[in-house]
């Protein structure tokens, strides 16, 4: 059974204008997230993952330009919306879970007040109900309600992450973007939080986008996965399919760089080189300088799309042909 699409992103391009030139951080990305589905976006740092998150919320710095494309959320295109119109969509339709290590909670306000603030910005007449809602949310993410009136610095890392999740859930959004949600936490806490997020997501029938550099995290919680390289999606498909039969050499390289607990044993390989400089990406397939299978085609021409059902990749030398 396929549910309705919640978020349809089509040919999204977002560039930064810097002194050194144009940085193509998001360069023609298209994907679709259905209700209740969770999408993972994976890639090395500096390949445009976080830029996608900021573009979807249209929280862009002054030097960013949304060049083209559309972001259709429940049928409404966010791209042409004004800042005021966009504001009413933020958090009620699309919200975000920030990294725990980041100071995404304001140090000078109580955590409860920061959630109430989000609620009151969107439901100005809620009054006392908003405090009730905060209690519900704390319950949902298993935080002690006595912490509602405490300051962020009194929280542990794991608790802070739960509070951030509670905050993201406050206005019952259709889709939540989680940018490296558990990166800074230790493995045990990381596992707990991921599982709880998954439970909450299923019980509320929400959609999620996980953004991570960690293949293991994505494998655990996502139904669909997209692999990003140099501002482009290079492979996309159901998680099980992509992990079992990766098409793009980059996906394979990423996977072999992480240990697998359940799968067969293999030597951990490190990927040579660094992600390309987005100011001046390599010609043809951007991955060719680091690719062991690169041919002349890879160096000169944009690779074609290889499709296997709902699993696709862009590559000249797809694996498994």
């Amino acid at each position: 059974m396929t549910k309705d699409p919640v978020l349809v992103v089509d040919d999204l391009k977002m560039h930064y204008v810097t002194q050194a030139g144009l940085v193509r951080a998001v360069d023609g990305v298209s994907f679709l997230v259905r209700r209740g589905q969770s999408l993972g976006i994976v890639g090395e740092s500096g390949c445009g993952k976080s830029s996608i998150a900021m573009t979807l919320l249209k929280l862009l710095p002054d030097n960013a330009r949304l060049v083209s494309g559309s972001i259709s959320l429940n049928g409404v295109d966010l791209v042409p919306l004004s800042e005021d119109e966009m504001r009413s969509h933020r958090w009620t339709r699309i919200s975000m879970v920030f990294q725990a290590a980041m100071n995404s909670l304001d140090p000078v306000y109580r955590v409860g007040d920061q959630i109430v603030e989000a609620l009151e910005a969107h439901y100005p007449s809620a009054g006392h109900d908003s405090m009730e809602r905060v209690r519900e949310l704390f319950d949902l993410v298993r935080l002690d309600p006595s912490y509602i009136l405490r300051y962020p610095h009194e929280y542990s890392g794991g608790m802070r992450q739960r509070a951030i999740i509670a905050m993201a859930l406050a206005c019952e959004p259709d889709i939540i973007i989680a940018d490296e949600p558990t990166t800074a936490l230790d493995v045990i806490v990381q596992d707990h939080i991921l599982r709880e997020m998954q439970t909450i997501q299923r019980s509320l029938d929400m959609s999620m986008i996980y953004i991570s550099h960690d293949m293991a995290v994505i494998a655990e919680v996502c139904d669909v996965v997209g692999v990003m390289y140099a501002g482009k999606l290079v492979e996309f498909g159901p998680t099980a399919e992509v992990y079992a039969r990766p098409i793009h050499p980059y996906t394979r390289a990423l996977m072999s760089a992480f240990p697998s607990v359940r799968g067969e044993k293999h030597d951990l390989a490190t990927l040579p080189g660094e992600p390309p400089n987005l100011l001046d990406p390599p010609s043809g397939c951007a991955f060719h300088p680091r690719c062991a299978y690169a041919t002349d085609d890879c160096r000169t021409a944009v690779p074609p799309i290889v499709e296997r059902g709902d699993h696709w990749a862009v590559c000249w030398n797809p694996y498994g042909e």
């Binding site: 929280l59 504001r87 933020r90 975000m96 995404s104 140090p107 610095h153």
Partner: protein
């Protein structure tokens, strides 16, 4: 927090001792003893001189003199002023200290408010014409040679236009047959200001829980009401005309001080805002869909406030120090002018007394800054 404040108090007390010792040794390094200064003054009779020698213990060994000096400081016993003979130094200072404090509290509060409000806007709209003009005019006023600027203000508004008095604390012609003396009127003015500020503070605390629009209305109404009551009471007491005279004399120095110092707060606020704007919680506040105004005022400005408040209290302390200049220009009879004139007339007891008081004032301001900082930053509070 108690521990933190205790630690800071101890530090400040230690600094006070170092400061007093420094004063003592500088004075002692002078040839002769303190009584010699009195000996040069024909107004001082020999008996008084001997009494003063006892007071300062000049015939005792140095360490005893030191203890006497510290004790005298704490009991406010600085001896007799040479240029204001036979008034005691403490008496002169007690008359002048409030004048200085009121002048500079008013000016610093105004310049802080102006600087913070402008700095907020400048940081938010970076690179526009508003930033350019306010930075250039702010810096010009900030680095202008203060005596010259004060002079131009006097020349323009008092000398040429004649709107305001040229200087000094009051108009002697008006006060010649006054039924009250200036100090008591001034004390009552300070009391009034104190009561009003407590009322205003109370109104703000009470309305803090209310919604924006209603809170603003309640604040405006209650403050208007309070000022009405104050004016009525002063007029009823029949001394309003004298209070008005003192206020008129305060306008020019206050405006001058505000204009020359707001740029410091403005630029500091701007830098502090720019740093805070890079914090993740600002991005989070935007993501939450808060209006830009709330993001700016509630999150960025509130966090950017921390370093600005510290500098505000410091500048309050140093306003008194730097106020030496303004007070001299406007002949405002405060601590600064007292220090300068005592120095110029070689009235050593008064100079030392005034100096010690300026130092103590600076130290108290630091302590207030620490308390305020601890209150504003929950990370220190607990």
């Amino acid at each position: 927090m108690a521990k933190y404040l205790l630690k800071r108090s101890a530090q400040i007390l230690a600094t006070l001792f170092v400061f007093l010792s420094l004063v003592f040794f500088i004075v002692n390094a002078q040839p002769g003893d303190v009584s010699n200064f009195y000996a040069l003054n024909p107004d001082v009779p020999p008996e008084t001189r001997e009494r003063l020698q006892d007071l300062f213990g000049v015939n005792e060994p140095l360490w005893k003199q030191y203890i006497v000096h510290i004790r005298n400081t704490f009991t406010g016993n600085f001896g007799i002023s040479f240029s204001h003979y036979p008034r005691s130094v403490a008496d002169v200072i007690m008359e002048r200290l409030p004048r200085t404090v009121v002048l500079f509290m008013t000016a610093t509060a105004l310049s802080f408010y102006l600087g913070f409000a402008l700095g907020k806007v400048v940081a938010w709209r970076r690179g526009g014409w508003f930033e350019y003009t306010s930075t250039v005019s702010g810096v010009t006023l900030y680095t202008v040679f203060t005596p010259w600027f004060g002079l131009m203000m006097i020349w323009l508004f008092a000398f040429k236009a004649g709107w305001l008095p040229i200087g000094k604390f009051l108009d002697p012609v008006l006060w010649r047959d006054a039924p009250v003396d200036a100090n008591s009127v001034f004390t009552r003015m300070i009391l009034t200001a104190f009561v009003v500020s407590i009322v205003v503070f109370g109104v703000f605390v009470v309305t803090a829980q209310r919604r924006m629009g209603r809170a603003r209305l309640m604040r405006i109404v209650s403050i208007a009401l309070a000022s009405l009551v104050v004016v009525a009471v002063w007029i009823a007491s029949g001394t309003a005309v004298f209070a008005w005279d003192i206020l008129r004399h305060m306008v020019l120095p206050v405006v001058t001080l505000t204009l020359i110092s707001f740029a410091g707060t403005m630029l500091l606020t701007r830098n502090s805002m720019l740093e805070t704007m890079r914090e993740d919680f600002v991005m989070a506040a935007r993501a939450k869909g808060l209006p830009e105004r709330d993001v700016r005022d509630k999150h960025v400005a509130r966090n950017a406030l921390l370093p600005v408040v510290t500098s505000f209290i410091f500048s309050l302390a140093f306003a008194v120090d730097g106020g030496v200049i303004t007070e001299s220009i406007f002949s405002w009879p405060g601590m600064g002018q007292t220090l300068v004139s005592a120095t110029l007339t070689e009235d050593l007891p008064l100079a030392v007394g005034a100096f010690v008081f300026v130092g103590v004032f600076v130290l108290i301001a630091h302590l207030v800054a620490d308390i305020l900082y601890a209150y504003l930053d929950p990370r220190i509070r607990y």
